[in-house]
Symmetry: C5
Subunit: 357 residues, 5 copies
Amino acid sequence: MCPLLRHSSKVSTKAGLPPGTLMKVGEKRCEKTTISVIDYDSKSFEEQTVERVEDIFPYKDTAKVTWINVTGIDNIDVIEKIGSYFGLHPLVLEDILHTNQRPKMEDFGDFLYIVLKMLYFEETENDIMAEQISLILGKNYVISFQESEKDVFGHLRERIQKSKGRIRTMGSDYLAYNLMDAIVDNYYIMLERLGEYIDDIEKELIGDPDREILEEINYLRSEMIFLRKAVWPLREVIRNLERRDSLLIQEKTVIFLRDLYDHTIQIIDTVETYKEMLSGMIELYLSSVSNRMNEVMKTLTIIATIFIPLSFIAGVYGMNFEYMPELQWRWGYPAVLVVMVMILLLMVFYFKKKRWL
Amino acid sequence: MCPLLRHSSKVSTKAGLPPGTLMKVGEKRCEKTTISVIDYDSKSFEEQTVERVEDIFPYKDTAKVTWINVTGIDNIDVIEKIGSYFGLHPLVLEDILHTNQRPKMEDFGDFLYIVLKMLYFEETENDIMAEQISLILGKNYVISFQESEKDVFGHLRERIQKSKGRIRTMGSDYLAYNLMDAIVDNYYIMLERLGEYIDDIEKELIGDPDREILEEINYLRSEMIFLRKAVWPLREVIRNLERRDSLLIQEKTVIFLRDLYDHTIQIIDTVETYKEMLSGMIELYLSSVSNRMNEVMKTLTIIATIFIPLSFIAGVYGMNFEYMPELQWRWGYPAVLVVMVMILLLMVFYFKKKRWL
Amino acid sequence: MCPLLRHSSKVSTKAGLPPGTLMKVGEKRCEKTTISVIDYDSKSFEEQTVERVEDIFPYKDTAKVTWINVTGIDNIDVIEKIGSYFGLHPLVLEDILHTNQRPKMEDFGDFLYIVLKMLYFEETENDIMAEQISLILGKNYVISFQESEKDVFGHLRERIQKSKGRIRTMGSDYLAYNLMDAIVDNYYIMLERLGEYIDDIEKELIGDPDREILEEINYLRSEMIFLRKAVWPLREVIRNLERRDSLLIQEKTVIFLRDLYDHTIQIIDTVETYKEMLSGMIELYLSSVSNRMNEVMKTLTIIATIFIPLSFIAGVYGMNFEYMPELQWRWGYPAVLVVMVMILLLMVFYFKKKRWL
Amino acid sequence: MCPLLRHSSKVSTKAGLPPGTLMKVGEKRCEKTTISVIDYDSKSFEEQTVERVEDIFPYKDTAKVTWINVTGIDNIDVIEKIGSYFGLHPLVLEDILHTNQRPKMEDFGDFLYIVLKMLYFEETENDIMAEQISLILGKNYVISFQESEKDVFGHLRERIQKSKGRIRTMGSDYLAYNLMDAIVDNYYIMLERLGEYIDDIEKELIGDPDREILEEINYLRSEMIFLRKAVWPLREVIRNLERRDSLLIQEKTVIFLRDLYDHTIQIIDTVETYKEMLSGMIELYLSSVSNRMNEVMKTLTIIATIFIPLSFIAGVYGMNFEYMPELQWRWGYPAVLVVMVMILLLMVFYFKKKRWL
Amino acid sequence: MCPLLRHSSKVSTKAGLPPGTLMKVGEKRCEKTTISVIDYDSKSFEEQTVERVEDIFPYKDTAKVTWINVTGIDNIDVIEKIGSYFGLHPLVLEDILHTNQRPKMEDFGDFLYIVLKMLYFEETENDIMAEQISLILGKNYVISFQESEKDVFGHLRERIQKSKGRIRTMGSDYLAYNLMDAIVDNYYIMLERLGEYIDDIEKELIGDPDREILEEINYLRSEMIFLRKAVWPLREVIRNLERRDSLLIQEKTVIFLRDLYDHTIQIIDTVETYKEMLSGMIELYLSSVSNRMNEVMKTLTIIATIFIPLSFIAGVYGMNFEYMPELQWRWGYPAVLVVMVMILLLMVFYFKKKRWL
């Protein structure tokens, strides 16, 4: 997992190599590559973690549905072996390793290759983390590749094991749908936490806006741009699956894909809404800065406008002319003080009328 | 009912459950679930509130048109029984309970599933409230699910009862159209009240803008974004119904759907217009803030520019040099006062010319 | 006629009534309903104002082209009689009365229903007024419904009477085209006057911008939004007529509709251009406000920056220390004055260099 | 020729006349109407200026390619004669005279009617001038109508005469292509000069921005809007020609039209880029205004912040209390001066640290 | 190579010449024209630099795949000879020389003409440099034309020579794909460096924003506009190749083109993201300018608001009235000082409360 918001990671080291060359692009995340296998049909269920990659090969041609989950993709050798046994195209293997793919679906006839993004909201750093999930959907197997050990498939595993829901009675396409559904369901959780964080920031913004808030809002807005990039293509992916151009998708799974399609639209809607809300918050920030400036200026103006004329009067009677009759008057000083207080009251009245006070 | 403008409500509790699991998502709104049935054809009319859900089952297969209205969807058991008797897909039941759906229409062959939003403008809080209405349109029945008791179908019930208009002579598709029409007609009322509220705010804005107004405008603008999300898909829903892909929609109902389609376009137009007007009001607010700042600055500048030079002159004659011939002059003091008045008049003339006064 | 820019007029009174219920929605404009009939072919011409609505019925089936013009739509009874005799759908009658329609064209097989907006620029109030025109194009008749007596069809009547142009030799579709053409030609006049008004405002803006100008520009921009709503759909209407899906449109009229289509595109272009120009004017206004602020601030800064240091010097020599040797110097006072003048010149030179003076 | 940027010219005088009425709309530009004829095939070439319009009629049916160039369209009589002899539709003649057309192409079966805009950058006034060119492409003739004598066809005439390039061996469609190519090539020149002018303005903007610059930028941006309106439809025109729906376009000309299509896309790209650059320049202007304001405010603040406290100190020792021990101190005055210098240095240091100096 | 960001280069010298006239448009970049030939099949490999252009002709019809690379296109004679021998259309040759083409693909039946842009980020000047690459893909040859000697094909040459990857076993279409892939791979490198530069600027922006930063950001944003113009059409080019309308593209190459298509979409995404980030940075800059202004104003206000009242008090006791009892008081002076300190503390407390200090 790594923060969603970053520039396209270093792929320059790969430029110039022939297409289809396998090389891990992206940060190293997982020391070890673990392969677990779940094999089931409506009656039987078997789960194991295999030691050697060759152990999964027998499952390819069983009549049961097999879910092979590969955690950690740094071990290129393993990926290559799976690729060659299951007949995956070198470009597919390259895309599995190159974890900067956009979500996409490619139909290779005897299998579908689906790329998705797993997204988490990291509350300690208030940042969205992303991880690439690749799915290979074959006739009676699904292979999933994930970068790190953290995943959202726990409930699904349990459901298959306990035979809850219809999953044990349906094919590999329904399993793939469930994997995608788990990922998309997790988007809701991520968006909910993000929404709470945005609410917190909005409260802070109304309370006491400072420049750090602005930078945070700006950062979140950039994140929305990246989030959109991760979610928009997903819509197209599921639309294409739903259209059933591939024989691997069965009629009775389509209605579930349609439901999933509705979910992705809701998620896109939410992302767009957050983006517009953040833009609105930036406007609010700017207007609050200019409001403060206004307040500062008003304070200055009130003070200066009251005291500058008064100081002038004091200055006049501070002049050293010999012939200034007022200076000798018995009540000159109190009279001046009275005039000053009257000017002050007049000014205060004027400011009250202008609603500056 | 709940305010329209809120983040996607908590669905995280549901993530991980198998698709089609029934669970109420959204706030609890209605303690009791009430089911009322209206059964009619051109000659007969029957209305009743049933006690047990099983009482509605006989109506399914009568030749008359039956409108089953379910108020309150917290009683999952009831929903499930209706679902299984009327052959509704688990995903449909899930969508009925999960009240964060976008408006949509789904064709299941023997019935159509339609989701709409009922919208009210709550004048006490100046807020738009939303409620989800689900319609099941079958061959000769319509089932409507609504979250709370408040509804907009009173006139329609009366019309069916009193046999006003053509409703008693037409089928269930025309009944469904009338339900949708009642909801869309209510949008006009909601938009009208909202429009009046926007007018009020605009008047206040021109009169005496303060920061709360800006926050209110900003809030309304966010609400427009949500409103758009609730209304845009409606257009597509009605367009799809009008195209008559489903055999459940009869030829003679199409012209009414076309009329309804025109109404939704008008509503979308109005929402878009409100949105643009609110954006214009934000610009107006910002420019009025900067106008005020201008006025404040002008006041300061006028006062300072007049009195600072005068104070300087007073300061000069306040110096204690021994050899300052002016100080001994008989008319020195009056001369200085005259000079000061002349400077003041000059300044005032200058500001008048610059139109600052 | 009523101002274009207003919120959707009160239709809430109508909500709940069965669809197709006739009721005038909109302001009352015309006390009396007048019906005039023009009946012509290449040889004969007949014009009359009928007393009773029944007098127009015979014209329905004559071989000649008949133009029935109904002015004033408040008399629902008349509209209903025409509707039932000419076989108009209740929803059409409803749309004729409900004068908040968007421009649209509906094909009912034996007649076309066309809604247009007549637009005037009211120079006394600098406001755009709108009126709804409904056209019913039948095999050999055209019925036009207009809200008030003011219209733009004078030239057309004259042309038919004097047999100028090809109008007397062509069918009812060409007559309908001519009515639409007269309305669209009038848009040019309206836009021209509006353009002159915008030019006036722009001149005022460059000369002496104040807040009222901004509000006027903002108002005009809102009006452009409404104008666009009235003109955009027109394009689609004429496009659909031109496509000749209806048998009522003859081949030789199509070229004229294509010409009309070009005109509507030009009008849309002009509206869009005005809108962009008004946005540019708002920017210009804002920048001119900030320019003025700049000027105000410069004045303050120049005055303060020159006199505050000078006042300080005067203040220093106003101190009452016993041992201040300068005060006893013979040329102390002149020397200080010279220093002050030098500082002043230096400041002026500095401001000149900075181009603040 | 007239400036591109102006409101739709007065067409109100024409409103109400029957469609197809010939009347010159636009300014008068050319007193005399000149007709020149070039008639050629691969072997022969003939060029002449005809006196009477009837002299061009014999060329209509020759096997050779004929280019009839009509300069000046104020002589409606001439246009009408050409129109009736060559069988042009009255609406075409109307469009030729009405010089506010958008670029368009219309297929009348035996001839194509093409409207283009000739654009010049007038360097004396830094303005774009526009002129309407109408082309009639018939089986073996091209008629071009231009408003004024200035044109861009000199090179083309020379090429035909000297038999350079393939032009003498190809048909009238290739001639029409060459006319369009000459016009589009001239757009490059116009854009280049415009680009140089924009560069000049940008330099001025960075050097010393004033309000006139802003108005100039704003004017140029409006011009870009109009320019876009003149160029965008051109793309569609050429696209339609390239599609060869008309038999008048031969297979071997298509590749040239495709090349021309690429050119128009490049021109649209450039116009869009200029528009975005001008928007960027407005932002730069606004930010430079606010930068200057900042500088002005800093100067004021520095001066005021330094001297106001110093003046206060001087004011304190200017007080006339009898018991102020400092005043009698021998070193009181120098001590106060030292304190003042220290405060000054402190302030300067503070401003340096804040980077205000 | 030349900077990407510049106005359309001088093509005015070319206007008026017949279409297809060969003339180098663009700066001179390469004195000499070098032609290198690589000829290979799965078994053999031959590489040479030819002296005379005629030496490459024999390779045209060999069964092996031939890659002819022409570096430097100033020698029009050479281009013309290649053109006539390989049967290239004059317009193609014109496009090769006219280096301001947008990326495009044209199908001439027996060969495809592809134009691409090679892009480099020049770190010394922080500028993007562009160079036009033209590819001619024939049945068993590829001709590439590049403007300067710097290229990105080194790895590819090596791969062909060392027979790495599948390249030696596939046809000329795969070779062309590899050339395009090398160019697109280089875009990643360019974008990565650009991204680092943008990061640097962002850091500087947060640290200490000045006007040069703004100009740099503005420049980069303009560059993004040009970059988009260079990359967007590429997508269409590769899409068209992938669709295999041309027989020159073999089935087994399509999957590689699909992969390349994904890469171009990623690149477009990145360019769009950079553009949005730069816009966000401009907003950040403007808000930071207004924040600074705020700070400046606060400083002024604090100083002025504290010392102006104090100065006024000092001014009052500097007046020369004869009857001012306070002046004779023994503790008058200390009392005034105490009052002044209290006012100062009050003010500081007030500013602290307002969070201005």
